[in-house]
Amino acid sequence: MAKGESVAGTDIPAGGFVQLLTPDGERFDSVTTADGTTYSVDFTDEEYRELYRDLVTVRRLDTEAVALQRQGELGIWASLLGQEAAQVGSGRALRPQDMAFPTYREHGVLYTRGIDPIMPFGLFRGVDQGGWDPNEFRFNQYTIVIGSQTLHATGYAMGVTMDGKTGSADGEAVIAYFGDGATSQGEVNEAFVWSGVFNAPIVFFCQNNQYAISEPLERQTRVPLYQRAGGYGFPGIRVDGNDVLASYAVTRQALDNARTGQGPTLIEAYTYRMGAHTSSDDPTRYRIASEVEAWKAKDPISRLRAFLTKQKIVKKDFFAQVDDEATTKALDLRERVLAMPDPQPVTLFDHVYPNGSPELDRQRAVFTEYQASFEGSGH
């Protein structure tokens, strides 16, 4: 394995990024950026296999979700197809004490946190709003309003500092996920302002999948997104988001910088949304097939597979076995999604306020009485 020649950092050329694994499965030992940082990974064979398992599994679960949506079992689904490496790489880079703030597409990150993948399905099926306890899973609730979670993550990170939980190798770090489109939101830029001013222990992880629904990157910026960071006083770096190794290495480094008190980093993971924006979208209206084809050649899974094969890290039946396991997981997921019960109507009135409200109690009582009036009437 050669020493990486690509030079990347705050002044990498457009299109340049940190890459450790080429689309053909060639591996660079390390990459050194212009600022002198060296990125590398040192995985055991089993860890490589584990990464491959993750990638395949999150894609397979995603495929199942797409199917469930088509069959009317989910109201909508936001597929991560094509973004597996960015998500698995960054997600695996998190240490147990770290906290993640996702958008609505980070099913892969969720999976790598060891969370039951069914967790967000309540939201997409429409049986609930997708609520869970962020602190239990060190994984915040999905956020639908574009960009808002970046401020939540920043505030949480300020709290980490206030709690004295930075400045050492076992400090805590925070990661905020968002898309290329989100970089245009005022709130996201305010998160950059605040993180710089308070030297917050945070990593901004932007999955630049080239589109915000139909709008191509040029509608959000005319320079590479990672460069946004410099104007707020922290480093920005672009990584090959289809390379799980580089995504891991760069995120791990940035998180460790954050936890040791060196403040924020913006990571732009350069990737591509292979599917529709969501199941409601029709990408053929705004992008051409050849573009999608070109990105297929950069697939995050096939390159790791090529590497594993070339390096003889895996046994003959490994790939089939992984596929089988993933399918088993997917079918289990399907079964459990189908079994998700619809909420009881009267739960409408629950959890509006921690302390409740007499006005709501009144409305709940009226509602209950009204519902009861239909009993036996076949309503």
């Binding site: 429409g126 139909s214 509006v352």
Partner: protein, 325 residues
């Protein structure tokens, strides 16, 4: 027969044709034609300078529209869903609503802000809200909502032609409902933008609704008619100002009124309408004005939204309660 969505599309097209200063702007309004296809084909025909795909930033959409309006343009802004108008709220209430007043009439901002609103489409959070009260409570804004394809076609053109800033609420779950639209009709012949309309005459009680709830009110009136109770249904069309003369005249005749909307009841439009009717028709009322609204909860998960949304049964129940007073 065309759908309400298509009627809006025709209305926008005609506005673009009629006035070169009209520009459409928003997220995904170009090639995609908007997530609901309301601007379908317009960028292709009028170009990227007239139909502008914007960065993903609602404050930016409205803030730059203000600047374009000062420059002499007539921006028609699309907010993708009701729940995403709030990043632009500062620009709307502190700038769009106030600039004409601030400038003592010297600056006009003929901006239309289109907002698909309301629930009933099985969507996730933030995609089913009814924020009209936030805007109706804001002096300086006019607020309207269409309920059928013919109105959609004329009202969007009237809103664009008006020099007042107009918040234009589109009943998203009615986008696919069809109706007759005379695409050759001239604007001046249309019902004025701020007029309410009696869409079904009746004598027993007055139902007041707008946008997506007009259909529900009409269905309730049909059902009541089968039981021999003739309900009058008024489509408000304009939410600020409200066309009160039509309402008062009706309620004085019927003696009973029920207001229907999806938004939470607390400090909603129904409250204002109830209060005004009571002030003006006190001695005509046989019962208090009743409200059938969303509950005072965040918009709930899709699988239970039908329990949240006013429906025929809840409207009839309110009518019954009014008669039982």
């Amino acid at each position: 027969m065309i759908t309400l969505g298509k009627a809006l599309n025709h209305g926008l097209r005609r506005a673009l044709e009629d006035d070169p200063k009209v520009v459409i702007m928003g997220e995904d309004v170009g090639k995609l034609g908007g997530v609901f296809r309301i601007t379908d084909g317009l960028q292709k025909d009028f170009g990227e300078n007239r139909v502008i795909d914007t960065p993903l930033a609602e404050a930016g959409i409205i803030g730059t529209a203000v600047g374009l309006a000062i420059r002499g343009y007539r921006p028609v802004c699309e907010i993708q869903f009701d729940g995403f108008v709030f990043p632009a709220y500062n620009q709307i209430v502190a700038q769009v609503a106030k600039m004409h007043y601030r400038s003592q009439g010297k600056v006009r901002l003929p901006i239309v802000i289109r907002i698909p609103f309301g629930g009933g489409i099985g969507a996730v959070e933030h995609h089913s809200e009814s924020p009209e009260a936030y805007f109706a409570h804001t002096p300086g804004l006019k607020v309207v909502s269409c309920s059928n394809p013919a109105d959609a076609y004329s009202m969007i053109q009237q809103a664009i032609a008006s020099d007042d800033p107009v918040i234009f609420f589109e009943p998203k779950r009615r986008y696919w409902e069809k109706g007759e639209v005379d695409l050759s009709s001239a604007l001046p012949a249309a019902t004025p933008l701020h007029s309410a309309r009696i869409v079904r005459p009746g004598t027993a009680a007055t139902l007041l609704a707008y946008g997506p709830m007009v259909r529900v009110a009409l269905d309730a009136a049909s059902a009541a008619a089968e039981d021999g109770r003739e309900l009058e249904v008024i489509d408000l069309r304009s939410l600020s100002p409200i066309d009160y003369p039509v309402i008062f005249e009706s309620v004085r005749r019927t003696g009973r009124a029920v207001v229907v909307h999806e938004a939470p009841g607390n400090v909603g439009l129904g409250a204002e309408i109830a209060a005004r009717i009571t002030e003006e028709c006190f001695y005509s009322l046989e019962a208090p004005v009743l409200r059938v609204t969303g509950y005072d909860i965040p918009y709930p998960a899709a699988r239970v939204e039908e329990e949240y949304l006013p429906d025929l049964d809840r409207v009839l129940d309110a009518v019954d309660r009014s008669f039982g007073w």
